[in-house]
Symmetry: C2
Subunit: 346 residues, 2 copies
């Protein structure tokens, strides 16, 4: 499990594998960088989190390298003890080179993150999209042993899905598999940042829920959200819990869309487990109840849908804050390496 990852590099050379026994997982989010350091048997040696990575590349690399060094230091070790580092990034990643092609929420474009960090830290780095990394992490997680076909549905500011089929991460030919945030659920819906109308994201992602709340307030609807300047999705969930009818309508609409997409994903991929993560999953049981109610409404008139959904385990990732970092570490698994290798020779 601690075999260092060797990848083809654009310069043809990979850093020499270290003899280190530690592995480091880094989850780069829109608002923070989280680091997890594990030793033998995945024992957690250190956990560290700092505010957001800079949108300025040099500064971002320096920040990320620094927090990794600090976390490794807190684990009582040095970089020489680290076998490899996995990083999850919210954006489009070339898994073969470790380059971040495009990370809209971070403001990065064509940033050779993996190579820059390898140069800075002298340790092999594997970079992958954060949602895909989380899917790999869930697959390797002891809580889901025996489940080889699962989807991690990441619902935050935007939405995308990480797909594990037959135990392997499915990236697709352009590394775009699971970009289901832009499936059009309502052709007459509001316009999406992508240019289309009524994309899944516009209904169920954080930004979409916040926008719908703003629209409701501006339309003069009677809601406690009117008292909040620029209500966020978190405000909307809180208001719905407090019994606000407008907020409840928006949450129900998001939950119904999530249920519809779960049904759609199960029809398309036939997986047995769907884990809903990302910012929205912190809404917890009230959200899951509403999603389950949406699934029940789909199953009620259809024996076919009922059979399929009854056999599908739908959960919230909830408050497990290590999903991202554990997923990044899972990228270092020899099985995950296969996928990276396929990309490299493709």
């Amino acid at each position: 499990m601690t075999t260092p990852i060797r990848r083809r590099r654009s310069d043809g050379r990979a850093p020499a594998p270290t003899s280190g026994r530690l592995r480091v997982g880094v989850d780069i989010g829109g608002s923070k960088v989280a680091v997890l350091v594990v030793g033998e048997g995945d024992s957690v040696l250190a956990r560290k989190s700092v505010p957001a990575a800079s949108s300025e590349p040099d500064q971002a690399i320096a920040q990320i390298a620094a927090v990794i060094r600090e976390a490794v230091g807190e684990a009582g070790a040095t970089m020489a003890d680290v076998a490899a580092i996995g990083l999850g990034v919210p954006g489009r990643v070339d898994a073969a080179t470790g380059d971040v092609t495009f990370a809209v929420n971070l403001g990065w474009q064509h940033l050779p993150l993996g190579r820059r960090l390898e140069a800075a830290l002298g340790v092999p780095c594997v970079v992958e999209n954060d949602v895909r990394a989380a899917a790999v992490g869930l697959h390797r997680h002891e809580g889901y042993r025996g489940v080889d076909d699962l989807i991690y549905l990441g619902i935050g500011t935007g939405i995308s899905a990480g797909v594990v089929l037959d135990g392997r991460l499915h990236r697709g030919v352009r590394g775009m598999a699971g970009e289901i945030g832009h499936v059009v659920l309502d052709p007459d819906g509001v316009s999406c940042a992508c240019g289309l109308r009524g994309c899944f994201e516009t209904i169920a992602a954080g930004a979409g829920i916040a926008r719908a709340a703003r629209t409701a307030v501006e339309a003069g609807e009677s809601t406690i959200l009117a008292a909040t300047t620029d209500p966020t999705a978190v405000d909307v969930f809180a208001a719905a819990e407090a019994g606000d009818a407008v907020a409840a309508r928006l949450v129900d609409r998001a939950a119904a869309a999530i249920a519809r997409m779960v049904h759609e994903l199960v029809l398309a991929y036939d997986v047995e487990l769907v884990v809903i993560g990302g910012g929205i999953s912190r809404a917890g049981a009230p959200l899951l109840d509403r999603i389950q109610a949406g699934l029940a409404r789909i199953a009620a008139p259809s024996a076919f849908a009922a059979e399929l959904l009854a056999e599908t385990d739908v959960r919230l990732a909830g408050s497990d804050h290590d999903i991202g970092t554990r997923g990044a570490i899972a990228l270092l698994d020899p099985l995950a390496k296969e996928v990276v290798a396929r990309e490299a020779v493709g």
Copy 2:
């Protein structure tokens, strides 16, 4: 390529592999049974087609066995020369046992088709869903060399998709992957046989188009379809070509739904090739033009959709009548065997 397939049988024994060099592909459709016999290098030795298989199991087995024997006879050979037989069936198939669980259009339920034919013919038989078989066939077809990620979208009476990812048939945990005929595109649409409303099938499959035509005629709309008793999808396509506005509207609606589903499938799976087959594909260029127009409408406002769709090859299977039988033969390929083996030990 002629290695006989050995599968785990419910009785624990497989027929002894023959030394035969011929392979036979059987495409069992709602209205006919087609057989293709090939020799070395996939050379076609015989091609035969007879009217529909009976819904009565004993009669169906006898019919299918008879047409296989006849086709092999026409190839100047006997069953002893046949290495293995692949069969594609429009329904739910247990690929491990070769049993047809449920084939609604054939009226079969729990028919041990593979085992019955093995007993009757003394040759190993592999049975798979017809659309999945076609997808495997396309992947092995010389016209698509180098394409390892494709979807065969079978649009006939109903709709389902056969999915090849990274060169392997993706069946899903319950063998239901690609059952996208029941993705809800219009929650307020007409009711589907599955119990839901506005499924993709109700808009784009043959039965859905025919039903919409009937509804238009009954509503007294001005259309030449009113002159036809019980117009079929074929009648609707012909009327649209003849300039009938009502028929054109129904075809456009079906084409727009197909375009929307192609976009959705490409977002979900990120394949590079989508081949549209089944009865609808015989509508040819006029249909493909309408589907391409639908894709262009999706791409127009969205750089993201435009990029993805520009790189996706969307074709009609058209008049290649061997797709089903070649697909069935492709199931005998050692690579396809892997998938069957996975099922058998799963």
